[in-house]
């Protein structure tokens, strides 16, 4: 009890994060996750049995399909939850009583980010093992366990980045626009970078176009599901650390801007 009170005193952000998770669980998004879980479990159990083909391609397809689906759902859920936090509270004016409590603006942003990130991680931890268990029963999966943890860790990093980007966007854009912009950045960031690189091809030096294209986040770097599905061994330490650094940058920068922006925002 005393420990809990200490936590409440020193980490208001954690309390806020808990509130975000509780609030999200009560909303329809979480119910959607439950439906997806049942669907995944059902598909994972039935589909391989119906197809009666235990070849490498079938194995690859099913493992990859479930993982891609689970990651996509978790990312979208995080995006949805993070993008609506600030606009909802601002519209309903619930932000005023909240900010009247002993909580700083930075802690508010941190708490919202933490809550939505944890929500996405919970979604991953519910969906992915469920899929893999159902697949293991039917397909006897014995892919590399270290690779599995690497994959999950990088996905958690992706979730945290998406949450940070969506929270930053929500301070400056209406909900729908923010949702669209961040979704495009997350799911098509690489394509935009490539498009810009092609657009300026010939007009600017190629190094410059490459440099510009690198400003767009590439979430593919966090997705090891293809390699895991193929039974590949874990990626090297330097590769892993580089991806980690990339993820941390895409968390730290939006969060820093969000904190700075929120400090100057009139409520």
């Amino acid at each position: 009890m005393s420990g809990s009170q200490d936590t409440a005193r020193y980490y208001p952000a954690i309390i806020l994060a808990k509130a975000v998770i509780k609030q999200s669980i009560r909303q329809k998004e979480f119910q959607l996750i439950l439906i997806l879980m049942i669907l995944l479990l059902g598909t994972g159990l039935i589909a391989p049995a119906i197809l009666k083909n235990e070849g490498a391609q079938t194995h690859f397809f099913f493992v990859n399909f479930g993982l891609s689906f689970a990651f996509f759902c978790a990312q979208f859920l995080t995006l949805l939850a993070a993008a609506r936090q600030y606009p909802q509270e601002f519209e309903q004016r619930t932000i005023l009583p909240l900010m009247s409590k002993p909580i700083s603006r930075n802690e508010y942003i941190l708490g919202k980010w933490l809550g939505t990130t944890l929500l996405g991680i919970i979604a991953i931890l519910l969906l992915v093992p469920l899929w893999l268990i159902s697949n293991t029963i039917t397909l006897h999966i014995d892919n590399d366990i270290a690779m599995f943890f690497q994959m999950i860790a990088l996905q958690c990093l992706a979730i945290a980045s998406i949450s940070a980007l969506a929270i930053l966007g929500s301070l400056f854009m209406p909900f729908a626009l923010n949702l669209g912009v961040v979704a495009i950045l997350v799911f098509k960031g690489q394509a935009i970078g490539q498009f810009i690189s092609n657009f300026f091809d010939g007009k600017l030096p190629s190094d410059a176009t490459q440099w510009i294209s690198n400003y767009f986040p590439v979430f593919r770097y966090f997705d090891l599901s293809n390699l895991y599905s193929m039974g590949e061994p874990p990626i090297g330490l330097s590769d892993c650390l580089l991806r980690l650094l990339y993820g941390l940058l895409w968390i730290a920068i939006p969060m820093a801007f969000a904190m700075f922006g929120f400090k100057r925002k009139a409520l």
């Binding site: 397809f61 891609s68 690198n214 400003y215 293809n226 590769d239 580089l242 991806r243 990339y246 940058l249």
Partner: protein, 343 residues
């Protein structure tokens, strides 16, 4: 007051540091990561990195591209997508040759694209027409004839039809070709379709080549530049395809950019050399079309070197190429002609 100032200045410092990190560090890390991921990917099997979703979507895109290509082929063949037999057998055979000619050299008849070099004993168009070794050419003719004879048709041939008069009736009634669109056969109208097909499937090399060929032949020289750009886009999307390089060489040669053309022919020749079976034995992955293009690249390099430099330089290059590909008899024939001309 003092605390407020400190807080503002520290916030400003944090903002500046964040901006620097965002503007400098992120692209650097991204570039490094891109290089690392590319390096890692190159060590994986070819199928790595292609998720089932990508495979499904790609096959859909390829299907769109192929369907458009087939439609353009039907249009070019006057609306007939199968060859008539029996009474129209002669037409069918001719049709087959026409098709073969069209497809020669990746769907493009290079004969049509060549410019004669009047001051030469051996012209580049000769190089194209005499390009193929005689036994191979004979073999091709025989194959084409056999193809027609053994071709499976939608409506059975008279001697292969058990339906008696019903078959005769069908052959009489069913239109083999639609007369009202007989005047078609010009591919200029199809240029937008080749554009769409390559947008749908950027790896549809045939559409790039045929589209560029029609563009180049559309309005004289006016659209050669467009054709060149189209082919260059194809090369960007398919950097390993040697036929696109050779087509680009052809287009450059038509613009009198002989040096650049030689460079492209060389790139095409070297890329082809990587995949050409030993002694150029024809097979599923190396057909007469590929062999013909390969020979074109070799011949054009030699002949353009003769035109831009000297006959001696061309002979020297030709001998070097002949050493690389000893079974390319047509190149030896050209070399013999060049040698006799230089004496």
């Amino acid at each position: 007051m003092c605390n407020n100032q400190e807080s503002t200045s520290s916030r400003l410092v944090i903002l500046i540091v964040t901006l620097i990190v965002a503007l400098v560090v992120v692209p650097l890390v991204a570039a490094q990561l891109k290089a690392t991921v590319t390096k890692t990917s190159s060590l994986l099997p070819a199928s790595a990195g292609t998720s089932p979703f990508t495979v499904l979507l790609n096959s859909l895109r390829a299907s769109v591209g192929d369907t458009i290509f087939m439609k353009t082929e039907i249009y070019l063949h006057e609306g007939v997508n199968y060859f008539s037999m029996g009474e129209d057998e002669e037409h069918g055979e001719g049709h087959s040759h026409e098709h073969e000619n069209l497809m020669e050299g990746k769907g493009v008849s290079f004969e049509d694209m060549n410019t004669s070099h009047s001051d030469a004993n051996t012209t580049t168009s000769e190089a194209m027409t005499t390009g193929m070794d005689q036994p191979q050419a004979d073999h091709r003719d025989t194959l084409a004839h056999e193809d027609v004879e053994h071709m499976h048709t939608v409506i059975p041939k008279a001697n292969d039809d058990f339906r008696s008069f019903i078959g005769v009736l069908e052959r009489k009634v069913k239109p083999w070709r639609e007369e009202h669109i007989e005047e078609h056969g010009k591919g200029i109208e199809l240029i937008p379709w080749y554009r769409v097909a390559t947008l749908a499937d950027p790896h549809n090399v045939r559409c790039y080549i045929i589209g560029a060929w029609w563009l180049a032949s559309a309005d004289g020289k006016g659209r050669i530049k467009e054709a060149e750009n189209f082919i260059r886009e194809g090369i960007k999307n398919n950097p390993n395809d040697f036929q696109l390089r050779i087509m680009l060489g052809e287009l450059l040669e038509r613009q009198k950019l002989d040096k650049e053309a030689i460079s492209e022919f060389r790139k095409g020749f070297e890329a082809a050399l990587q995949i050409r079976p030993e002694n150029g034995i024809l097979g599923k992955n190396w057909t007469t079309y590929e062999e013909s293009d390969f020979m074109t690249a070799a011949h054009m390099m030699v002949l353009l070197t003769r035109d831009t430099e000297t006959t001696e330089a061309a002979i020297q290059l030709g001998e070097k190429l002949a050493q690389q590909v000893p079974d390319l008899l047509s190149l030896r024939r050209i070399l013999t002609k060049l040698k006799s001309a230089s004496k």
